[in-house]
Symmetry: C2
Subunit: 154 residues, 2 copies
């Protein structure tokens, strides 16, 4: 009897999120992202690559001759932001810009051999980083988490 009263109170609190910041989904996404970001950075200090830079390298490798605008769409980044990242990667000799056949507004992007080598190293580090991240989940939970996250960004 009094236990059901307690339950009701608890539910009421849940509905109102207790006013506490811990009930905010966005708050936990921020913190989780921060933790992942920090560990990623640690893993990549030697390679001197950021998350975004690796993502762009990876994407160019998966889709040779992709254009900057497409990268922006896939990674949900501004065109100007993509350009800044590509500039950095180009300055380090990882990617090259080339002419596009057909549409003269676009440019093709492809990895140099240096870029290929960097990506190969990066892939290994990403797997190490992922192992750290996945170590706290079962394979089922990993799939579940990805599914939930996809619903947010897709």
């Amino acid at each position: 009897m009094h236990s059901s009263a307690r339950k009701i109170a608890a539910n009421a609190e849940d509905d109102a999120d207790i006013g506490g910041i811990d009930g905010i989904v966005g708050f936990h996404i921020r913190l989780a992202h921060g933790a992942v970001y920090r560990h990623f950075t640690e893993t990549f200090v030697d390679l001197e690559l950021t998350q975004k830079q690796v993502s762009v390298l990876w994407l160019i490798d998966e889709h040779p001759d992709i254009a900057q605008a497409d990268i922006g769409r896939r990674l949900q980044m501004d065109r100007a932001t993509v350009m800044a990242i590509v500039n950095r990667l180009q300055k380090r000799g990882f990617v090259e810009r080339g002419a596009s056949t057909g549409d003269r507004r676009r440019q093709t992007l492809h990895l140099t051999s240096t870029g290929q080598a960097a990506l190969a190293q990066a892939r290994a580090s990403v797997l190490e980083h992922e192992a750290w991240l996945k170590s706290r989940f079962t394979p089922r939970e990993v799939a579940l988490l990805i599914d939930l996250l996809k619903r947010i960004h897709e």
Copy 2:
């Protein structure tokens, strides 16, 4: 028989993440965080507050006379970063720094009445933002997602 062979192949691919960026948990966390960040920013254009700033206001309100170092620990931010944020909030008259009783290294932080008002508005916007975020999940899934995310950042 041949189906088991296929299964093995499929598992092998799973283990290697198919080489695809879509199999990377961190990748989805980044994208999800980006989407949430963007929507948050849209929701708060009028209030001109960022995620971090709201989090800090919220935290100071929840824990009056908290010190900067404690904020940093709870929100996983560098001391220098916390200071930058508190400086901005102080410049806008939302928070005040005060002396700490006992430990003279620390300072206490508390909201001004202006800060209280801003936080009240912010809370409403956060709920609106959260509703957008939660709209794609059942209550069970929300709880599940929070649980999974907590394991990453706790």
